[in-house]
């Protein structure tokens, strides 16, 4: 599903964000990316979403070499990838259901499909009763659930999460992790960058540790360190 082969990423200011990264992630895996700030976790995720291109090496996502696809094909690649952010990135002027529907409308889904899929996903994340609320009327955990609903409503093959629990308290974090675990069980590959030692240690999933841009550990059913 995801493969990095000798990947190096150097930014314009000569900062080397990733070097000699070799990773192979199978369909349906749940992978934690751990490491200190600046270790290359966000670059790793941005490469998978083709927000960045590798300076050297190859990155395959959903069977496609991201460097060889043309710019106009990028949106179609991204339809296979859901993205969850630490700061949620919800649209404040839209209600919960409009925020989720927006993800489907933006890729040209027909109205009947939006009408059936949005309530179903809100039910899944436990927010059906808050469909008409705006983001500023929700708690942080609820906002992240909306963000997850938006990322998953299109049933992507891969879910990328960049510190999704970074702004949440421990109790809320548990709820979000349960939700991500549930989504993973549907066969969706989940790659999550995190600093949260507790959840990594509790969930015991595959852990890829980055340090100074290098993969220093790749451990099945691993712990934070």
């Amino acid at each position: 599903m995801i493969k990095l082969e000798n990947v190096k990423k150097v930014y314009k200011n000569d900062h080397v964000a990733l070097r000699n990264a070799n990773v192979d992630i199978q369909k349906g895996e749940f992978v934690f990316l751990v490491g200190p700030s600046g270790s290359g976790k966000s670059t790793f995720i941005r490469l998978l979403n083709r927000e960045e291109l590798p300076t050297e090496g190859k990155v395959w996502v959903a069977g496609k070499d991201i460097a060889s696809i043309r710019n106009w094909q990028v949106p179609y690649l991204r339809r296979n990838i859901g993205y969850i952010f630490q700061d949620f990135k919800l649209l404040p002027n839209k209600t919960v259901e409009e925020n989720v529907a927006f993800a489907l409308e933006a890729i040209g889904r027909p109205r009947h499909s939006v009408k059936t899929q949005v309530p179903a996903i809100l039910e899944l994340v436990g927010l059906a009763h808050k469909a008409k609320n705006r983001p500023d009327e929700l708690s942080g955990g609820e906002q992240q659930r909306v963000s997850i609903a938006r990322a998953f409503v299109n049933r992507p093959l891969i879910l990328l999460a960049d510190e999704p629990t970074g702004n949440l308290d421990p109790n809320t974090t548990i709820g979000i992790m349960k939700l991500l675990d549930r989504i993973n069980r549907t066969g969706t590959t989940v790659v999550m960058a995190t600093h949260d030692r507790g959840i990594v240690d509790v969930m015991r999933r595959r852990v890829i540790e980055l340090e100074g841009g290098q993969v220093v550990r790749d451990q099945a059913r691993g712990v934070y360190e």
């Binding site: 991204r78 990135k89 933006a106 040209g108 299109n154």
Partner: protein, 297 residues
């Protein structure tokens, strides 16, 4: 792309930056109104007012209705061979009748049917190589006594001055309206840039969920198109009012030179359609450049 989505997103863009939208529409209106006045008064009006004296014709040699073909041919040869004549055009029965109908088309069917082809004298319209008034007068007068010539006609000095001033005003009006139109396109560009900036969060989300660039661009293009088109509709409405007022004033000015600055309904219709087209194209063009610039792949 769904229509309700398009309407909603475009509407939100317009409402969110309503002040800039209003400013954009107004400048389009002003520039197109000015352009419309230039076309209606400066081109059609001026041409209609001086229909006899267009294309630098300085004098006209009218032939007697009973002038023979030989007499006409002799005058033609004389004018063609004269070094003081730049161009000469012969208005035969057909062309004379056509001109007559053009001149009196605003005066109703009675006037148009009052005369028939062949009732009017044929003529030579002459553009001399030297436009100096005295030289022209002397040259023209030399044709008066020739056989077969009925009379020789000049525009009076006042007509020449108004015609010349009209042409100068037309040039400056045209230049001003083109500059204003360019300013409108720039303002539409800025309005769309602002709309793109104010919706950057939506655009970021759209990109990440896999919206194509064209899908993101289209509401902005429609926004620019609407601004241009609304500006054009307002300009056309203003021009319709100005035109009606001008024509009703024309009734009271009957006989004066200004009353001759008229245009036909067809000319007005084509001008209005042209303005609507220019407004739409200017709007879409400004928006297209802006989205191309700020929403690159």
């Amino acid at each position: 792309m769904r229509l309700d989505y398009l309407v909603r997103e475009t509407g939100q863009n317009l409402v969110r930056n309503w002040l800039l939208s209003v400013a954009t529409v107004l400048i389009v209106t002003v520039s197109l109104t000015m352009f419309g006045i230039t076309v209606l008064l400066g081109f059609f009006g001026l041409d209609n007012a001086f229909i006899t004296w267009n294309n630098d014709v300085s004098f006209i040699v009218y032939m007697n209705p009973d002038a023979t073909a030989e007499q006409i041919a002799a005058i033609d040869k004389d004018l063609e061979n004269s070094p003081q004549v730049d161009t000469v055009e012969y208005y035969d029965d057909d062309k004379t009748f056509e001109l007559y109908q053009k001149m009196f088309q605003q005066d109703g069917p009675e006037m148009l049917t009052a005369l028939e082809k062949g009732d009017l004298p044929t003529s030579f319209r002459v553009k001399p190589s030297n436009p100096d008034a005295n030289v022209v007068k002397e040259l023209a007068n030399s044709y008066g006594p020739k056989t077969g010539v009925y009379t020789v006609d000049f525009p009076d000095e006042q007509v020449r001055q108004v015609q010349s001033a009209g042409q100068t005003i037309r040039f400056w009006l045209l230049l001003a309206s083109v500059v204003l139109l360019a300013a409108s396109i720039v303002l539409i560009f800025i309005a769309i840039q602002t709309a793109v900036f104010s919706r950057r969060r939506e655009i970021e989300v759209m990109r990440l969920v896999g919206a194509t660039n064209w899908f993101i661009r289209i509401p902005f293009l429609i926004e620019g198109l609407i601004q241009g088109l609304v500006g054009a509709i307002l300009a056309v409405s203003s021009l319709a009012i100005i035109g009606a007022a001008w024509k009703s004033d024309g009734e009271s000015m009957k006989g004066s030179l200004l009353a001759r600055f008229v245009w036909t309904d067809d000319q007005q219709l084509w001008t209005f359609l042209g303005l609507l087209g220019i407004g739409a194209v200017a709007g879409a063009l400004g928006a297209f450049i802006s989205t191309l610039w700020y929403l690159r792949d």
